[in-house]
Amino acid sequence: MSAAEAAGFRTADDVPEDLRDDLASLLLSLADNKRLLGMRYAEWLLGAPTLEAGIACSAMAQDEWGHSRILYAMLKEFGRDPGQLEHEREAGQYLSIELLDEPPAEWSGLVALNFLLDTALSVQIESLKESRFEPLHYKVRKVLEEERFHFEHGRGWLARLAQTPAGLRSLDGALTPAWRSCLQWFGAPDGGLIARLSEEGISDAGPDELRARWLIRVGPIVMEAGLGLAESEDGGAWRSSADFDWSKWDSARRRSGDGALNSETLAAVRGDKNRAMLMD
């Protein structure tokens, strides 16, 4: 990419039209995943194993909702109506990972979302810190500062649960599907949305590089916990043997097939109970 092509975009209007749709799609995917993840954290506020973990879930829920609010608001510049995005979409229009379609049944499921998915979202967000789309710079820094403690919380609970055979079995059951989904979430190696955004300098990493960054972060910790999900390679890289079928991959929704949020999740995330208060 030449220097002229790599010039920064100060507003959404500066972004070329074809790229603008891809960028809006990325922002919406991050916003939707964060909104739903925040809801999952909030659901454990009263049922967490300790009072401290409940407080942490409350703090993390607030963080995620704050981040999603920022991202939805940014979409206004892209001609999208944040009110419509937040309150008036159908389940299939959410650009969210399948892991958030229904609530996790056990605490280990929430730990899987906390440690694997929240970290995946942070890896993707971190790839935007030098983005050509300049409005992201400051916001990304602020989000990542808060996410540091989400990571600590996830790794701490992973280590705690892994101390007992029953905890380790429960973790294994929760992390195995989440592991696969998160790896796939970074997208098809070539040709998809995430690859295009990286080629255009909106992000600084394509799908395979994002997967590698995520693996470096979560790999050593899941291995230390005694879960056989990742292996280390010479030179500090991490490997995971998952193979993916990309034939039904939806690059905007970042998932395969036509699954979607379940009805309770949809009603809660868009605030159906408060519909009477949505004046405009």
Partner: protein
């Protein structure tokens, strides 16, 4: 404060400005250092801290008293 088996007490120290001294601001119960860091930051979030650190209570050595460090007065412990 919930004190399950496999949990340890961590003492929390923090300062708001670089020129301040670290002050003891509280105690948290956690099973390991990662969770102690997360809980301390997320629980003591009323102030904007320049620095926060945690240390396991068992790392503290009593200097002048025979009782365990951080033992409260009977009135405070109530």
């Amino acid at each position: 404060m919930g004190h399950l088996s496999g949990e340890y007490l961590y003492e929390i120290f923090a300062r708001q400005k670089r020129e301040d001294r670290l002050e003891h601001i509280g105690t948290i119960s956690a099973p390991n250092a990662a969770l102690a860091r997360a809980y301390a930051w997320q629980t003591y979030d009323e102030q904007k801290w320049f620095e926060m650190v945690v240390a396991p209570r068992e790392a503290f050595e009593a200097v002048n008293r025979d009782e365990e460090p951080f033992t409260l007065s009977p009135a405070e412990a109530r």
